[in-house]
């Protein structure tokens, strides 16, 4: 050991702060954006360590004028773009109505994905049947992009009514849709990421072709399960995509508290030996292109990809949250990557395949579909009117076959 040198400033604790707070506008220069079209597209078998440039840059396709530019342009056709627009507008309309339903006490709780719609919907469009998503509570877009998932059923889950496929056991938004590639949502953050890696390993063990897609927020990446997932994914070269949705906030804590200051979440992947991309999450085309790249890589035995989607949580964390207490009111409007719906619309109009009138008509159409679904869902009851699954349901499915002690407890409650 060496004697301490005498004249030194005392140590001090660094606690990161966002640049903006209520009453003080955010300086978004911390995001370090790249120009649309300026980043290379590597081959799908790229060596993970060589993706380091892409982990610190921002892959974008749509420029400020709505042109699709650069090597990541997926060059999709008009019909595809219209489907994408429909998926985003439907997701937005669904969220808007369910927020109102929560205020009317038809559901106890709701979480919207306002401003993040491009990520789940475009990613879903890149998946192949048989792939499995391991979502968080904010990936309803994976279900709403899929017209085979009945909105009525999703709403029955939210209303906890007699037709709730989760039988009233789960908090609203905790869906489960195995047949639609959507793993049961857990309330406990980050647990699903390592599970997705395990599912992907199983696909490899069985010499299958299926890929897993794991989802996690910026905040939840601090949990050990995320870091464990990176290690397992790298070690076994698992066919998995690890999607980190960096919407800048985790309830009231800024992404720097999760470790985003001076680095990126994508950089975590490169450090673990995983190919990593940092992508404009409000750019529908960039989301689709990056998802395709990672899926192709995974399905070709080149291993996992971590994708950080840079976006902004435009709404409250949940219906229990009030963001005006901790961030500037106009943050979402000032976010430099804009709004995903407006940006895709601008692109489609620029291409000459879309107009304001068509946009309004589609909005009306999906709003009508959502309203009709709500009417039907409400006809089966809501939590508020007590049309819920019976109490006996809570003793079912604890085990495959109900053990004697649960039968005794059910009888004690007065149910045979």
């Amino acid at each position: 050991m060496t004697a301490a040198s005498p004249a030194r400033e005392p140590l001090r604790l660094h606690v990161p702060e966002p640049t903006g707070r209520p009453g003080c506008e955010t300086d978004f220069s911390y995001l370090h954006l790249s120009a649309a079209g300026s980043k290379r597209k590597p081959p799908i078998n790229e060596v993970p360590a060589k993706t380091i440039d892409l982990a610190f840059a921002l892959i974008r396709v749509l420029d400020d004028t709505g042109q699709a530019v650069g090597p990541w342009d997926p060059k999709v056709d008009a019909a595809f773009l219209k489907r994408g627009m429909r998926a985003m507008l439907k997701t937005r309309a669904f969220d808007a109505r369910m927020l109102v339903a929560q205020r009317q006490k038809k559901t106890s709780f709701y979480m919207q994905c306002l401003g993040e719609e491009a990520i789940a919907t475009a990613h879903w469009m890149a998946l192949t049947p048989g792939d499995m998503c391991f979502p968080t509570y904010r990936q309803q877009g994976l279900l709403l992009a899929n017209d085979e998932v009945p909105m009525v059923e999703m709403m029955c889950q939210l209303f906890s009514n007699r037709r709730d496929p989760m039988k009233g056991r789960q908090l609203p938004v905790m869906y489960s849709y195995k047949k639609h590639g959507f793993f049961s949502v857990s309330g406990n953050l980050a647990t699903q990421v390592i599970q997705a890696v395990g599912w992907a390993m199983a696909s490899a063990i069985k010499n299958d072709t299926k890929v897993a897609s794991a989802w996690i927020g910026d905040g939840a990446t601090a949990e050990s399960d995320f870091h464990t997932a990176l290690t397992f994914a790298h070690v076994y070269r698992a066919p998995v995509i690890i999607n980190v949705v960096n919407n800048q906030w985790a309830i009231s804590t800024f992404q720097a508290i999760a470790g985003g200051e001076g680095t990126t979440f994508a950089a975590r992947g490169v450090g673990c030996g995983i190919a990593s991309l940092r992508v404009d999450g409000n750019d529908f085309l960039a989301v689709y292109a990056a998802s395709k790249w990672a899926l192709e890589r995974a399905r070709s035995n080149h291993g996992p990809t971590l994708i950080e989607w840079v976006t902004y949580r435009a709404g409250a964390h949940s219906t229990s949250d009030d963001p005006t207490k901790y961030r500037p009111d106009n943050d979402a409007a000032r976010f430099p990557l804009g709004d995903p719906v407006a940006r895709l619309k601008q692109h489609m109009v620029a291409l000459g395949i879309w107009s304001d009138a068509e946009h309004e008509a589609l909005k009306k159409q999906v709003e009508g579909e959502v309203a009709a679904a709500q009417k039907e869902a409400e006809s089966h009851g809501t939590l508020a009117d007590g049309h819920v699954h019976p109490a006996s349901e809570m003793f079912e499915d604890v085990y495959k076959d109900m053990p004697a002690h649960l039968k005794r407890q059910r009888a004690e409650l007065g149910i045979g």
Binding site: V15, S160, L171, M394
Partner: protein, 345 residues
């Protein structure tokens, strides 16, 4: 001063009382630091730490990453340095990623290092149901902690006790799990969810001294003296049991454990010896719940005074349901049935 004495008092909710306890301790002891998810700038999702960062600065009160293992592990290290960390786990249902740091580390550091290192720390966490929180915002995991040797488990049931107990826990040199029944944050709750909420301002225990005082650990409170049967409860179940006694007309002596483990055995034994009957009530699931330990203790210490089998009323052995909350939650009618049954026994 061991209790509030004649100090100036104010009406407080449980949230305000907890905040006041942390405020008092941050002021008195600059080794006290607070951290956890959303506790800094925002002041916690239940607002328990609101204003404290502003008052004491970011080195004393700060936000943490979302990692319960990280929060508790860092607190162990800070405790070993000589600080007295008070950490918040956002919901008790989310403590599990921190379990290894609690069970293998915090609880045994004193023992394994023969007092060379210790970690005085308080782990606050909201627990219990009654808020339509579903399975991940409703759990009562106290029994898991009572099985871990070397930690204390405490649960207040009113603002006065919440403040006095929290101060006692922060000053205590052992790691403490401090469970806060979230349904009691804004008022007592007797299990009748369809009745209007009663605020703490209408309850004598909402009257809280402004300054420093403690409620001693390992001391139970008799919240309703009675002669026919002893009810052992804690947290929200204290009010449910009181409602059950009123509604059934049974003259129950209701004991609020306050310190779940280590506990105040003398008060329990004295009461059961007097009444000869005992009903145990908790929200947590039944099998291997803390009620099982309480039944064993009563049986070991009061067997020859018992005139009826000990009864327990608990949550069912299922995950906590969302829509069927009021069939799961032990309501006064279920406690009343147990009270009457034990009188017949």
């Amino acid at each position: 001063m061991p209790d509030g004495g004649n100090m100036k008092t104010t009406q407080m909710t449980m949230i305000q009382a907890l905040r006041s306890a942390m405020d008092v301790m941050l002021e008195r002891d600059n080794n006290v630091v607070l951290f956890g998810q959303d506790v800094g700038y925002f002041g916690g999702v239940f607002r328990c730490t609101e204003g404290l960062q502003k008052k004491y600065g970011k080195s004393r009160v700060f936000d943490s990453p979302i990692s319960e293992g990280g929060i508790i592990g860092a607190a162990v290290g800070m405790g070993a340095y000589g600080l007295r960390p008070v950490v918040e786990i956002q919901f008790a249902d989310y403590v599990y990623p921190g379990i290894d740091q609690i069970v293998s580390e915090a609880a045994r550091l004193r023992f394994r290092s023969v007092n060379d290192f210790t970690c005085p720390m308080t782990m606050r966490m909201p627990c219990g149901g009654g808020i339509y929180g579903g399975q991940t915002h409703s759990q009562s995991p106290e029994a898991m902690f009572t099985q871990v040797c070397g930690i204390r488990t405490v649960m207040p049931s009113n603002p006065y006790d919440a403040k006095g107990l929290l101060i006692a826990c922060i000053e205590n040199d052992d790691p403490v799990i401090f469970l806060e029944p979230k349904r009691l944050y804004n008022g007592p709750f007797d299990g009748h969810h369809d009745k209007p909420v009663v605020p703490w301002s209408k309850h004598p225990k909402g009257e809280v001294p402004e300054g420093y005082y403690t409620v001693p650990l390992e001391s139970a409170a008799i919240v309703r003296p009675g002669s026919e049967v002893t009810v052992i409860a804690y947290g929200t179940m204290v009010y449910v049991s009181q409602a059950a006694a009123e509604e059934s007309g049974v003259d129950a002596e209701i004991i609020d454990l306050r310190s779940i483990w280590p506990l105040d055995l003398d008060t329990l034994v004295e009461s059961v010896k007097k009444t000869g009957r005992c009903v145990i009530v908790h929200e947590a699931t039944r099998t291997s719940g803390f009620g099982a330990e309480l039944m064993a203790l009563v049986q070991e210490n009061c067997f020859y005074h018992l005139e009826a089998p000990i009864e327990r009323v608990t949550g069912w052995d299922t995950p906590y349901p969302h829509a069927q909350e009021w069939d799961y939650f032990p309501v006064p009618a279920r406690v009343a049935t147990a009270l009457k049954k034990t009188l017949q026994g």
